[in-house]
Symmetry: C2
Subunit: 406 residues, 2 copies
């Protein structure tokens, strides 16, 4: 039984240029944490990421929403969480503030993740393990398919799961091998060229064969120069991505892609405004083999449906700390699978929570084994920090979703 709800407003100024991008020159990594306390002494912790001020707004909204869960049993809540979540998302007094986006949706993300954490801790299982142990119908009951029935009905989602189930065993080895990571910390925006080059060598030595550079400067020459620098330092076999953090117009994005067409960039990430579905389609149509990745600022399954239908993204970077938590993340994963779009989440959680989810996506939905973003700067802030060995995430064993902060 959930007896009370508390929140934590945690903010970590990163400093030294770490974490900087074309927008966030002074990043403060912030978490709005919801904690559900149960009568048997367990605490479920959920996170939403906010990257700065206003974290308290998410906490306040989450407290408001969470009241309806007090005095209820977590097992009972999760047995029909899809309905519960829809009720919270459409609650008439808060809905105008979204709907299904911004502060209220981040609050729902944090609360949803706290529910999954309390549930899996109560069952004594790490999230990935619990997800794999669930039968398909019980899993689908944790999801809300409203507004996407025309793209993915519940029945179709069930088919994705049941079809993939037949070949699950083939993909179980990933648990022992570890899910591959890619290194975002080589190329933060404020780093000097020398620092970036040195980081690329350090990263390769640590076992990474994929890494990402922050671009989106007002000076395209700087962006092109640094992309070339990373490719040169990383060698021709490494996968190199460029991330513009929404700073370009459609035309500027295409221009960057043309100027770097010889660098074999694996993707160009967030080239323009995250609401500009048709702008992304235009970019995707123009830039040929350098593919468009987006999703860290796409707020919900409805916008993802539009991206998928428009063929506007090649890699889906849905973030379980941006959409309505693990439940909506899974809905988007199933929809992406149907559309044949690989899922490479943005890790607002430093990979803590998402490591569970990519394991599940690969094993239970037959999503291709790609790589998961890795960012190390808050490593010591987590109780059970994500650990990489030779560039691969070590499969976590602690019960829960992995979001507990010290």
């Amino acid at each position: 039984m959930i007896t009370r709800v508390t929140t934590r407003d945690l903010r970590f100024p990163i400093g030294s240029g770490h974490g900087s991008d074309a927008i966030h020159r002074n990043p403060v990594y912030s978490y709005a944490v919801v904690q559900l306390h149960s009568s048997d002494g367990k605490t479920g912790s959920g996170l939403a990421f906010t990257l700065g001020a206003g974290n308290e707004l998410v906490c306040r909204a989450a407290e408001w929403m969470a009241q309806s869960l007090v005095n209820r049993d977590i097992g009972e809540i999760m047995a029909r969480f899809g309905e519960v979540q829809r009720g919270l998302a459409d609650e008439q007094q808060l809905r105008w503030l979204g709907p299904h986006k911004g502060v209220v949706h981040l609050a729902l993300a944090s609360l949803t993740n706290a529910c999954w954490d309390l549930w899996t801790k109560t069952l004594g299982q790490p999230l990935w393990d619990h997800l794999l142990s669930m039968d398909d119908e019980a899993l689908l009951d944790t999801m809300d398919f409203s507004y996407i029935e025309d793209a993915l009905s519940r029945a179709e989602a069930g088919e994705v799961l049941s079809t993939s189930r037949r070949s699950r065993q083939e993909r179980i080895p990933v648990l022992a091998d570890g899910y591959p990571g890619y290194d975002t910390s080589i190329g933060w925006f404020n780093y000097s060229d020398e620092q970036v080059a040195e980081n690329v060598r350090r990263s390769a030595a640590e076992g990474f064969d994929a890494m990402k550079l922050k671009v989106g400067s007002s000076d395209i020459e700087r962006d092109v120069r640094r992309a070339r620098l990373v490719r040169d330092a990383a060698g021709p076999d490494a996968r190199v991505m460029a991330d513009a953090n929404q700073q370009w117009s459609v035309r500027e994005a295409i221009q960057f892609a043309e100027r770097t067409s010889d660098l074999d960039l694996f993707w160009i990430e967030e080239p323009t405004h995250p609401d500009d579905v048709l702008g992304h389609r235009e970019i995707a149509r123009c830039i040929g083999n350098t593919r468009v990745a987006a999703g860290e600022h796409v707020p919900n399954r409805v916008v993802f449906k539009n991206y998928f239908n428009a063929e506007a993204m090649a890699y889906c970077q849905v973030d379980a700390l941006r959409v309505a938590g693990i439940s909506e993340f899974l809905v988007v994963s199933l929809m992406a699978r149907k559309y044949g779009i690989p899922l490479v989440p943005h890790v607002g959680d430093m990979g803590q929570i998402h490591q569970h989810l990519v394991l599940f996506n690969h094993i239970a939905m037959d999503h291709p084994l790609l790589f998961l973003e890795y960012i190390p700067h808050l490593r010591d802030r987590f109780t059970h920090p994500a650990t990489l060995r030779n560039g691969r995430y070590v499969t976590p064993s602690a019960p829960g979703i992995g979001g507990d902060l010290v």
Copy 2:
């Protein structure tokens, strides 16, 4: 000089079924009010509408944003407000909470509107009058065209204004005639059938020839019955609209349109989720002469650009209390004009502020003279309430934007 910023968190439970829709069965009309106090004793008041709880979140975000305007002169701020607004919208510490949507964007709406109010009060002009007196370049300087250059460049926006300027005189009579209103208060969701029929007769007697019914029930028979009832009571010449408040899937919306195809509905409003641009396009393609209206929950110019490019809405209901205030409203108006889409704003302000804007849109952009929503329930809460005579808004004469509440 702006010396300080205050906020007011105003909430008005409506009661008696007034204001109810398919989502808001117990509506609380709420305003997050930003007030900018100047050294010469004037107060600029801006509004954002929230329809419920969480109003305080918008106030907090607006206070945070407004700090950068203190100790500055309103004339200096407005001389380059497009830049100022872009800076506030992309402020690195709050941007993750949007961007450009939800609580932070509502806060920017309220703050922007407060700036326009202080400016026009300082100049001693009602908003419509000041807008008409501005030269085109000064007006364009109050707007932010970033992310929509591919649909409407600043130069193209200037062309819309300069071309329309040549025929302005022909449209000046609307100031004396009054802008036509349409009556949303005939058909709130909770009203009984009898109440609706009686309201239609009352409305017609007051001079309205256009009115709107709330639909979006889980029982399509109820919706169809009530639509028929309104058409029967209003007669064949009245314009009758139906508003589903986002409650349908794409398929359900098409079904309603088919079932009411003989009723000559003027539009079907918010048939499905406001983020579902391509869903609206699908509905628009299927429902023939009953046109799709949407926009009250469309958060910014980028999403409107997508709607326009996709030919997904026939009437644009942008709300200056949802997008980033009067400035972004005007950007969307200019873009809509270029695409040939009529503008019929949603009035989160009861028509107080929007009456100025539709006058300006018609006279200075040659937008067609249609009608503006009218909702009477908070009439007595405003210092200078919008007044209708024979179904037409009486052109306001008080300085400012009209948003002062008692």
